[in-house]
C-alpha cells in the first residue's frame, strides 16, 4: 500500500521508541529493573532448587554421598511444584506465560523439528521477525511451521518488535500458508504474542485487513492446521495465525479478548485491578476448554515450561504428532466441515427463553 507513493523513501518496520502500551513490555521492564518480582509464588520452589544444588555441590567437592538427602529434596520439590501449579490464579498464569525464561517459538522449533528451513517475507512489503515461518519435519510430517517470536535478548526483542507483528507478518504467514496448501503440507502455528502492534505504520498498512483476511482464509485453507498457544494469546493479534482444526494450549498460557491490564483499565478504570480482570475474563485453558475454544490442554512439566524446556517440547511434539496423524487421515471435505463446525458452535445465546450453546446453537436455525 505504501509502495504506491513513488519516489518516497520506503518506510521501515518500526524499531522506534519502546511501546509503552504493550503491557507485556511494561511488565518485563519492571521485572528486569527489580522493581517488583511477579514470581514470588515460585519462591518456595526456587529455595528448594537452591538447596538441592548446594547439596549436590557439597557432595561433589567433599566426596560424600548425599544421594538420599538429594532424592528426598527432589521429592519435596515435585510435591511443592504440584501444589503450586494446581493452585495458581489466572493472573499468576498470565505472569508465567510471560516468564522471560519461558521457551519461545524458536526454542520449540529447535527441539521438535528435525530440520527447519526458514522462509522470509510477504513478497510485498517486508519481512516481519515477529512471525517466524518455515518448513520443517515434525515426526513423520513435513509441515509449514509458523510461530510468533518475542525475542530472547534485547537485540532480538527489538528485531521481533517484542512479539507484536505488523501487517506484513500476518501477510507473510498467509503467503506461506498458501504455499503449504498448494503442496499439501499441514500447518502448525505456535501462538505467543501480547497483541498485534498498535502503531501508526501498522494502521497505515492495514493491520485490521491483514488479520481479517488471515482469519477468513485460514478457515478455508485446504490443509490441516494445528494451533498451539505456547505463551500469550493476545486477542486479534493471536487469532491472526490462530484459526485451525485443533487448538492446543499449554497449561500456563492464556488466550484472551484483551490483556488483563487493558481490561482492568477500561472496565475497572484501574490498570492495577489486572488480577481481578484476569480472573473474570476466563482466559485460562480450563475455562476455554469448557467453552469449546481449546481442544486439548497440554500439562507443563514440574516447575513449569520455563524450568524444563526439553520436557515441555517433548509433550508439545507428541501432541502435535498425534493431532497431525489424525487430521491428515481425514478427507478434505470432512476436515473443512469439522473446522467450520468448530467455530460455528462457539458462543452462548438465549433464544426463546432457552440457553443455546455448542451444536444446539448452530442447529437452531433452518
Amino acid at each position: 500500500m505504501c509502495l504506491a507513493k513513488a519516489g518516497q523513501p520506503r518506510p521501515q518496520p518500526s524499531t522506534g521508541p519502546a511501546p509503552r502500551a504493550a503491557h507485556w513490555l511494561t511488565w518485563m521492564a519492571t521485572y528486569h529493573a527489580g522493581v517488583s518480582n511477579p514470581f514470588t509464588f515460585l519462591d518456595p520452589l526456587v529455595a528448594l532448587e537452591a538447596k538441592i544444588q548446594e547439596l549436590e555441590q557439597l557432595a561433589q567437592s567433599r566426596g560424600v554421598d548425599l544421594s538420599v538427602e538429594v532424592a528426598s529434596l527432589r521429592q519435596k520439590w515435585a510435591e511443592e511444584s504440584d501444589r503450586t501449579f494446581a493452585g495458581l490464579t489466572a493472573w499468576q498464569r498470565v505472569q508465567l506465560s510471560r516468564h522471560p525464561q519461558r521457551p519461545q517459538a524458536s526454542d520449540y522449533i529447535d527441539r521438535i523439528a528435525q530440520e527447519f528451513v526458514p522462509l522470509a517475507g510477504d513478497r510485498v512489503f517486508g519481512d516481519d521477525a515477529a512471525i517466524i515461518t518455515g518448513l520443517g519435519r515434525i515426526g513423520a510430517h513435513a509441515c509449514l511451521i509458523i510461530g510468533q517470536q518475542k525475542g530472547k535478548d534485547i537485540h532480538e526483542r527489538k528485531r521481533c518488535n517484542f512479539g507484536m507483528p505488523h501487517p506484513e507478518g500476518y501477510r507473510k504467514a498467509l503467503e506461506k500458508m498458501r504455499l503449504a496448501e498448494r503442496f499439501h503440507l499441514p500447518v502448525v502455528c505456535l501462538i505467543n504474542t501480547p497483541g498485534a502492534f498498535p502503531g501508526v505504520e501498522a494502521e497505515e498498512r492495514g493491520q485490521s485487513l491483514a488479520i481479517a483476511v488471515n482469519i477468513r482464509d485460514m478457515s478455508l485453507l485446504r490443509t490441516p492446521i494445528v494451533v498451539a498457544v505456547i505463551g500469550e494469546g493476545g486477542s486479534g493479534g493471536a487469532l491472526g495465525i490462530g484459526v485451525g482444526d485443533r487448538m492446543l494450549m499449554l497449561q500456563n498460557s492464556y488466550f484472551s479478548v484483551i490483556s488483563p491490564e487493558g481490561c482492568a483499565a477500561i472496565l475497572w478504570k484501574d490498570g492495577a485491578k489486572r488480577d481481578i480482570a484476569a480472573a473474570s475474563m476466563g482466559l485460562t485453558a480450563d475455562i476455554l476448554s469448557r467453552h469449546g475454544i481449546v481442544d486439548e490442554i497440554l500439562p507443563e512439566p514440574p516447575g513449569g515450561a520455563h524450568r524444563q524446556g526439553d520436557a515441555m517440547a517433548a509433550i508439545l511434539q507428541a501432541a502435535l504428532v498425534r493431532n497431525l496423524d489424525a487430521l491428515t487421515k481425514l478427507p478434505m471435505a470432512e476436515l473443512l466441515d469439522r473446522r467450520y463446525a468448530k467455530y460455528r458452535t462457539i458462543g452462548q445465546v438465549i433464544e426463546g427463553g432457552e440457553l443455546l450453546t455448542g451444536a444446539r446453537m448452530a442447529a437452531a436455525h433452518g
Binding site: P198, S208, S219, S235, V257, L267, S280, V349, I350
Partner: protein, 285 residues
C-alpha cells in the same frame, strides 16, 4: 436547497425561542442546527454534511424498499457465560441497554429489497454497549450470512463498533472467526458482500467481517482502525499524522474502495450490486 436555506434563515434569527431538543450542536462545524432538518437529510448536517450516528431502524429505512423488510433472529439475547461483573453484573448491563435502545443486542439482521434486489442486511447499533460484538452479534451475523448464502443473496453489513465485548471474554473474540468463516463460504459460493464502515468501526469488528467486503465503502470522516487512538498515542509518544484513522486516510492508504455520503449510499450500493450480482431468474419462477 431553497427550503433548506429558508428554514435555516428562519430558525437562525432566534434559536432561543425554540424549545430544547429541537436543536443540535453539530460536532462537525460547531454550528447549531435544526434537528428536524438533520433528520430529513438522513441524519447529516445541513451546514457541513457531518454524518451523525444513525440508528439501525433509520438505516434500514434508508437502504431497504419500504414494506419489504423482514427481520431475522430478533429474539436472540445475551447469556452470561462467564458470570461477569465489573462495575455492574453483565446481565444488568444488558438489561439496561435493552431498555435504553429498545433492542435485544447490538445488531439487527434480516432481508429486504434494495431497489428491487433481494439482499441480506445486518446493521450494527452503536447505542447498544458501543456496538460491541459478543455471542449474539456473532451468531446473528453468522445466521444472516448462512441464510443469504443458501438463498444466493448478496450480504450487506453496516458496521459501527468499539470492538469485541469484553464481558464475554474469548467467546467474543471467537465471533471474529465464526463470522469470517461464514463469509468465507459466502465468498466461495460466488456471492458479493458489501461492507459499509460508519463512525466508529474499530478493533475486533474491523479486524474481522468489516474488513472482508468484496467492496468496502466508508461514510465520510468516520473513525476506522484497529487500535484506539489513545493506545497508539501512548505507544509511540508522538503526534499522529493529520486525519489519522479517518475514512479519507484509509482510502488514501489503499484499504477501502469508496467513500460515499449517506444521501448517495443506497443508489451506490444498487449500482455496485448491478455489476457484481445477477439474481437467478429461476429463483422467481
Amino acid at each position: 436547497m431553497v427550503l433548506d436555506r429558508l428554514r435555516r434563515g428562519a430558525v437562525a434569527k432566534d434559536p432561543k425561542k425554540i424549545p430544547d431538543g429541537l436543536w443540535l450542536k453539530c460536532p462537525g462545524c460547531g454550528k447549531t442546527v435544526f434537528k428536524k432538518l438533520v433528520e430529513e437529510r438522513q441524519d447529516t448536517c445541513p451546514e457541513c454534511n457531518y454524518h451523525y450516528t444513525m440508528s439501525s431502524v433509520r438505516r434500514i429505512e434508508l437502504l431497504i424498499d419500504s414494506g419489504t423488510w423482514k427481520e431475522w433472529d430478533a429474539g436472540l439475547s445475551a447469556a452470561d457465560p462467564l458470570t461477569f461483573t465489573d462495575s455492574k453484573p453483565y446481565p444488568k448491563r444488558i438489561a439496561e441497554s435493552q431498555l435504553k435502545t429498545g433492542m435485544n443486542d447490538a445488531v439487527v439482521c434480516g432481508t429486504g429489497a434494495l431497489n428491487g434486489m433481494a439482499v441480506g442486511l445486518g446493521v450494527m447499533e452503536f447505542a447498544f454497549i458501543g456496538g460491541s460484538m459478543g455471542s449474539v452479534v456473532g451468531e446473528k451475523l453468522t445466521r444472516l450470512v448462512e441464510r443469504s448464502t443458501a438463498a444466493r443473496m448478496p450480504v450487506i453489513i453496516v458496521s459501527t463498533s468499539g470492538g469485541a465485548r469484553m464481558q464475554e471474554g474469548a467467546l467474543s473474540l471467537m465471533q471474529m472467526a465464526k463470522t469470517s468463516a461464514a463469509l468465507g463460504r459466502h465468498k466461495e459460493a460466488g456471492l458479493p458482500y458489501l461492507s459499509i464502515l460508519t463512525n466508529p468501526t474499530m478493533a475486533g469488528v474491523m479486524a474481522s467481517f468489516a474488513s472482508l467486503g468484496d467492496i468496502i465503502i466508508a461514510e465520510p470522516k468516520a473513525l476506522i482502525g484497529f487500535t484506539g487512538l489513545r493506545v497508539i498515542k501512548e505507544t509511540i509518544k508522538q503526534e499522529l499524522p493529520e486525519g489519522f484513522q479517518t475514512s479519507e486516510f484509509i482510502l488514501q492508504h489503499g484499504q477501502i474502495d469508496l467513500i460515499v455520503t449517506r444521501q448517495d449510499l443506497r443508489g451506490e450500493l444498487a449500482r455496485v450490486l448491478s455489476y457484481l450480482h445477477r439474481p437467478r431468474s429461476t429463483a422467481a419462477a
